[in-house]
Symmetry: C2
Subunit: 198 residues, 2 copies
Amino acid sequence: MVTTAKGIATRQRIVEAAAAEIRERGTLATTLDDVCRRSGTGKSQMFHYFPEGREQLLLAVTEFEARHVFDDQQPYLDDLVSRAAWEQWRDVIVDTCRRQGPHCPLGVLIADVGRYSPAAQAVTTQLIRRWQDAVRTGIEATQAAGEADPALDADRTAAAVITAIQGGVSVLLSTGSVDHLEAVLSLCLDHLLGPVGQ
Amino acid sequence: MVTTAKGIATRQRIVEAAAAEIRERGTLATTLDDVCRRSGTGKSQMFHYFPEGREQLLLAVTEFEARHVFDDQQPYLDDLVSRAAWEQWRDVIVDTCRRQGPHCPLGVLIADVGRYSPAAQAVTTQLIRRWQDAVRTGIEATQAAGEADPALDADRTAAAVITAIQGGVSVLLSTGSVDHLEAVLSLCLDHLLGPVGQ
DNA sequence: ACCGGATTGTACTTGCGGGTACATTTTGCC
DNA sequence: GGCAAAATGTACCCGCAAGTACAATCCGGT
């Protein structure tokens, strides 16, 4: 179905346009026509590259944004070992969310996509899992470095951290304030690393 | 506009039907026709009692569910002072979510309603504020009882706890698993009360 | 050059769901 | 009982956005 370089490029343009549109206005308000207009394509391409329609496009966007977020965070995630590194990571997350306002790409999508579409649920579950693994690795490294309480269950703590982020984004989407995100992430970090003045 | 007892009752039936429908299938999938069918009313009543339409109904449902959740939790919130009480509260939340599966009433609504409707945003903001105040009071009581670190900023910690719950619900909605909620709430409690075996 | 599949443009269908119009009945009240 | 307002029933409208049909064009390989 897709073989040509041109075709791949078009498909990519559609995904990017959809992602941008969703960031700006939410999944609900984003229509296929909007995406077509923005990407300079037409319905025919839309359904040529996403024969299953809207749902399939949303999944593609989710994967796209996930890759994006991971690429952004990878350098920080790889280096989670000192308190300073953890705090820097937290600040990056908070700042990114603050800058983007209520348009945090993954947040929007995890919150929106596929409540009830099993395919989408699978994608988000796997995404959370992957992210959680990255954080867990960081926690283990921090423990190995003697900076974190070795008694903590690394995976469970990672789960808590991911969930905290998701909650912060959720509150951000509802209220427009990033304070809650900051508060809960800081609490998690304090718990992980011990009180600030230790 | 509304004076009769019968009218009030009808309005109430509409709100309850809408709430039930939303719990079962999400706000997105809930149509006014569904609500009418379920409540045994017609469009004319719908727009008689909610002249501004769907949006207004959703707000009413949010307030209804908020009251509901508060009433449920009030006894526990009033008693947050010992570790046992906190853990019981946590278990109530987790169990409720587990039982209801991905239908946690407030979670759905906070996550869904009024991203972008300013009125809805005001309602959810105030709701979060109110809930946070209740938790803060609990934290202060716990500190006063010497069970919690007095150095913690009670309001900020309360914000973190509320956000954690919201995140857990959000993950629950996306993945169907309640584990993340449990993990993040437990982490918050451990942080607040000190490690289990202290 | 030319063939066939990939790609794209245009115009359409269709269903759904929010919202409206208006007629009819019920109800509280004097 | 009768009347005005509230409450309800029925039938509609209308717009939007997902999805389809089909024709036209491009483009790589031989």
